[in-house]
Amino acid sequence: MVEVQGLTKRFNNLTAVDGVSFAARPGEIFGLLGENGAGKTTTLRVLATVLAPTSGDAVVNGFSVTREAQKVRASIGFVSSDAGLYDRLTARENVAYFGRLHGLPGPTLTKRIDVLFAWLDLKDAADRRVGKFSKGMKQKVCIARALVHDPPVMLLDEPTAGLDVTAIHAVDEFILRAKREGKTIIFSSHIMSEVEKLCDRVAIIHHGSIIAAGTMDELMAKRERFEDVFLRLIGGRHQ
């Protein structure tokens, strides 16, 4: 469960996120749709406790991001599109490092990594250094790393950006599996078809504010294509 209440984040003079509120439930994929620079990444970074909000708060798995950051961190898996890995470590070592920091004991950690690598089709590459991996394989390792502690909440910031079709399919399958397991998933993207494909409910974010939110059906009640809704809403704001 993720509840965001009046979240605002300012950098000097720039207001990146302006009073954003929404809620995502377990077993649900909640989409944040917006152009580049709309405030999606900043919102997710605040939820991930990497940035502190200027005002407002968010409750993640029952913990406040402003007051209980460490407990929030234990509850989330955060994946971003430009996340990096330690090139000189193997895929397994990269994931194990995070598992150990999450406090997973050795045998549990080994088992968990085996399960994740099997799901993500990384078994053969597990003990190779990640430096020469393809972008898709690196992103899969990032996903395994973020979810090594089996968190109830997943924060995915454009997790499929720049990946080829096969990799996108593997990541999508993984996200749907997590949904079936009852995890709360927040998925951001600037590509409408992706959101359409995966998300149960969507918030459209523009210039730091949410300008529309609802289920896919609600947003598409007029039987318009989702893309048209998105462009109309954004266009309306521009005028």
Binding site: R45, A48, T49, V50, L51, A52, A69, Q70, K71, R73, A74, I76, F78, S80, D82, A83, G84, L85, Y86, D87, R88, L89, E93, Y97, F98, R100, L101, H102, G103, C142, R145, A146
Partner: protein
């Protein structure tokens, strides 16, 4: 955000960063190859070249022109009898410039007459002071001319029936009472503090850049900040890796130096067969001082590195650190430990170098060691606080 230090977390970070560092070729270069290769080069080949030049001049006959040789047969004969010179014929005005001779002796036309009249005869020696060999030959020529002068005095005194000893009231013998160990120690006291400080500073440089600025550039920093680990634990784990790298480099440079000294003690102290040994206590204290230097540099380097946006920026900021090491060394290299003011032991880096110097020379001054350790500890805590704080500031973490 929690700031408390969790030792288990710091240890996990430390072991990961250490294995990552060990797999980085650049670290090997800075930590092991450079100290192993450069020290013997610096300490063996450098002085050896200088010694070879000295020996060359000492052993071989040097070319000298006597301008007006025909007017001073006695002097020419004396110079030849010394067996140290080849008297060559060349234009005195250009002989030195053209490298035909290393010194020119100008003899006046009335040289023999003035000798006979027992009046001073003007002899001029020309040489090139900017050329070390020419300077040494000039000294050789001057010694022989003085000997010629004394022989003439002796002859004159004997002709008058006086004892030549009349003019030598004192027989002066200069004696070096410093034992061989101290001769070695004095030289080492000059060069070792520099080497140890240098490698304490540069040994951990790449590790510092990699674990902070590198983490930012690779994009792994954001991921690591979403793990329930305090930023102080992260900073401490990374800090320890930098300290360990510095210490290894310093230790290797010390070992390399000791080996070089064993192999060729003479080349280390020109003209002197010096020996050198340290007690276990001294070695222990030297490593304690090396630890404080490494601890200080590591904290500064980590603070700077976590402030930088990426590898290159960190490298640009941190390269001057080698010059910072050289400044206190230049100020103190020729100062004897006895003349070092007490406050030197309170200045960062300088105190470590001074303590090294004392320890190498066999002096264990508890007050100085205490000041060095206490003040270094204070600087380490301040620098580490700064590094830890930088790890918590959003503006620094996401500057790109």
């Amino acid at each position: 955000m929690s700031q408390s230090l969790n030792f288990r977390h710091a240890w996990i970070v430390f072991t990961k960063e250490l294995s990552d560092t060990i797999r980085d070729r650049r670290t090997w270069w800075a930590m092991i190859i450079l100290p192993i290769v450069i020290i013997p080069l610096m300490t063996l080949i450098g002085p050896r070249a200088a010694i070879k030049q000295i020996e060359d001049v000492r052993r071989t006959k040097s070319n000298v022109v006597v301008a007006g040789a025909e007017r001073a047969p006695t002097l020419v004969q004396f110079l030849e009898a010394s067996g140290q010179f080849n008297l060559v014929t060349a234009d005195p005005a250009t002989a030195i410039k053209d490298r035909q001779a290393l010194a020119v002796v100008y003899v006046p036309a009335d040289f023999e007459d003035r000798l006979r009249q027992e009046k001073p005869a003007q002899v001029r020696v020309a040489f090139d002071a900017s050329d070390q060999k020419s300077s040494m030959v000039q000294e050789k020529v001057a010694r022989i001319l003085i000997a010629f002068s004394q022989a003439t005095v002796t002859a004159r005194l004997q002709a008058r029936g006086y004892d030549p000893n009349l003019l030598t009231p004192l027989a002066i013998n200069v004696e070096n009472v410093a034992p061989k160990e101290q001769m070695g120690a004095s030289f080492l006291g000059m060069i070792l503090p520099m080497l140890m400080a240098m490698w304490s500073a540069t040994g951990g440089l790449y590790a510092a850049i990699d674990v902070a600025a590198g983490e930012k550039e690779r994009g792994t920093l954001e991921a690591i900040l979403t793990v329930p680990v305090s930023r102080m634990s992260l900073a401490v784990g990374k800090y320890l890796v930098v300290v360990v790298s510095s210490l290894i480099a310093a230790a290797i440079s010390l070992v390399g130096f000791a080996v070089a000294f064993k192999v060729s003690p003479v080349s280390m102290v020109p003209g002197q067969a010096a020996t050198f040994s340290l007690t276990a206590t001294q070695i222990g204290l030297i490593f304690l001082v090396a630890l404080t230097l490494s601890a200080f540099f590591a904290a500064v380097e980590l603070a700077v590195s976590s402030f930088a946006r990426g590898f290159r920026e960190a490298q640009t900021y941190l390269t001057p650190i080698t010059f910072i090491v050289i400044i206190p060394w230049i100020l103190t290299q020729f100062v004897s430990p006895a003349d070092i003011p007490g406050w030197y032991y309170m200045v960062p880096v300088m105190n470590g170098m001074m303590a090294f110097k004392e320890l190498v020379m066999g002096l264990v001054n508890p007050a100085h060691i205490r000041d060095t350790l206490v003040f270094s500890a204070i600087y380490v805590v301040v620098a580490l606080r700064l590094a830890g704080r930088l790890f918590q500031r959003e503006s620094v973490l996401f500057r790109s």
